[in-house]
């Protein structure tokens, strides 16, 4: 079986079956990653995954073997998610605070695309979404996607030590939130 990196090189040469194989390998998993980053917005996660693969293919000539393809893919996906969060934050800052208009900063929840979950799971989602974006990204990459510390560091272009400190702070904050909301008891 060809590795992701070999498939990426084949795509550089215009190989469509390599493209099919690589997208089939990662698409579903990538949607899962973005779904969690966006607080459970499936439609948004699918759109972002589509945008990620489009960017990957448009920039495929910049891919240099033997860089790990998965870290490159997740780096692009993370940047897309971050751009989305920034735009949402800008929109929020333009709203008159006196109007008490509600906007969910990070997720842009659309009722039709957000699945109904039980109260406990909702508590987990809320706790995760209360983390800063930096902490949330490393927690999701580590404990949902199972990426190695070094791979997370490469994906986010930060030192391994920074990954560890973000994980540590993120877990601490998650614990507090889950305890406060009654989802977790000591």
């Amino acid at each position: 079986m060809q590795t992701d990196e070999e498939l990426a090189v084949s795509i550089q040469q215009g190989n469509q079956s390599a493209l099919t194989e690589l997208v089939n390998r990662h698409h579903s998993r990538l949607i899962g990653y973005l779904y969690r980053l966006t607080g459970g917005n499936r439609g948004l996660a699918e759109d972002m995954a589509q945008e990620t693969f489009l960017r990957v293919i448009r920039a495929i000539e910049q891919y240099r073997y033997p860089r790990t393809f998965k870290t490159w893919l997740y780096a692009i996906a993370t940047n897309i998610a971050r751009d989305h969060f920034k735009r949402a934050e800008m929109r929020y800052s333009m709203i008159d605070v006196d109007s008490n208009e509600y906007i969910n900063l990070s997720t842009d929840h659309q009722p039709e695309t957000t699945l109904i979950v039980d109260a406990e799971t909702q508590g987990v989602i809320n706790a995760l979404m209360s983390l800063s974006e930096h902490q949330r990204v490393v927690v999701v990459l580590r404990y949902y996607e199972g990426l190695a510390l070094q791979d997370i560091a490469t994906t986010l272009d930060i030192p391994v030590g920074t990954v560890k400190s973000r994980l540590s702070l993120g877990l601490k904050k998650l614990k507090e939130k889950l305890e406060r909301s009654g989802v977790y008891e000591k």
Binding site: I31, F53, E61, T121, R142, L174
Partner: protein, 287 residues
């Protein structure tokens, strides 16, 4: 509320140990990870993936032949880009001068004479003119290219030097081979050795002067002057006074000096390329 410990928690334990260091911390946070694991992602329909693949197929780069892929290799791509930018006059001048050298050598070559052949006289001049003009030709384009790509101006200059020197070297080699085939009394290797080192040294010297002074005319006129002195006075060396000996710059075609000249050529190129940045800054400050 019940605190779940995740199924298959050995893997998560290992992750936590690596992240948090102590086993106490692992025990403390393992249930938290267990809670996180409760949140599963909905399964994604294959139809969505298939639609995406169809869409991406339109964005695929065109299939490349082996030759096209080779041409995309970084050093070759730089050389190709510079091939179109280097002044056309450089190629034309080199071809014309080499042709003249070939014809004159064929017409007047005398195997009994110890003098340099016309092609051996012209080859270093061709080299010096070509490389002297590299920096002068399209300096703005070098800076423009540097600002729009990741290629440094030093790399661009080296690519141009490789192209121009390589072209002149190939022309002179071809001419020497032709001469040795046409004129049976001309030996190939002695002919090549009569121009190769002087050409290499003067090309490097012209390149160096053109970068330091920023003046192509100064670079190649200085080199033509040096070589002319050598050619004129070297013939009179047997009955020469000290001044003639001095002006003849004997070392340029003395085999014992060739390794030294070759080393000096490399040093001159290295220094010139290294100084490119400084020279450019200096000019920028003056401007």
């Amino acid at each position: 509320m019940k605190n779940n410990v995740p199924a298959g928690n050995d893997k998560l334990k290992t992750l936590l140990e690596e992240d948090l260091g102590s086993s106490d911390a692992v025990d403390e946070y393992l249930p938290i990870i267990g809670k996180l694991q409760q949140w599963s992602t909905p399964s994604s329909a294959q139809a969505i993936t298939d639609t995406l693949i169809t869409q991406l197929a339109h964005e695929l780069p065109a299939k490349q032949s082996h030759l096209e892929r080779v041409l995309e290799i970084y050093p070759i791509a730089i050389l190709r880009s510079q091939l179109m930018i280097v002044k056309r006059e450089i190629w034309i001048a080199s071809i014309l001068l080499t042709l003249i050298g070939l014809l004159v050598t064929m017409a007047i070559y005398d195997s009994t004479s110890n003098d340099l052949t016309p092609i051996a006289i012209l080859a270093p001049i061709i080299g010096a003119i070509g490389t002297g003009l590299i920096y002068d030709s399209g300096l703005e384009r070098i800076l423009e290219l540097e600002s729009t790509t990741r290629t440094s101006k030093q790399m661009i200059l080296l690519a141009r030097l490789t192209l121009v020197y390589g072209f002149n070297l190939s022309l002179s080699l071809l001419t020497s081979v032709l001469l040795s085939l046409i004129q049976s009394d001309i030996s190939l290797l002695p002919l090549i050795s009569s121009w190769f080192i002087p050409m290499t040294f003067l090309s490097a010297f012209a390149f160096f002067i053109s970068i330091i002074s920023g003046d192509a005319f100064l670079a190649w006129s200085l080199n033509i002057g040096i070589w002319t002195l050598h050619v004129v006075f070297n013939g009179q060396i047997s009955n020469a006074n000290p001044l003639t000996q001095y002006l003849s710059l004997q070392g340029l075609s003395t085999p014992q000096f060739h390794p030294l000249l070759l080393m000096m050529a490399m040093v001159l190129i290295g220094v010139a390329v290294w100084f490119t940045e400084q020279v450019e800054h200096g000019r920028g400050n003056v401007a």
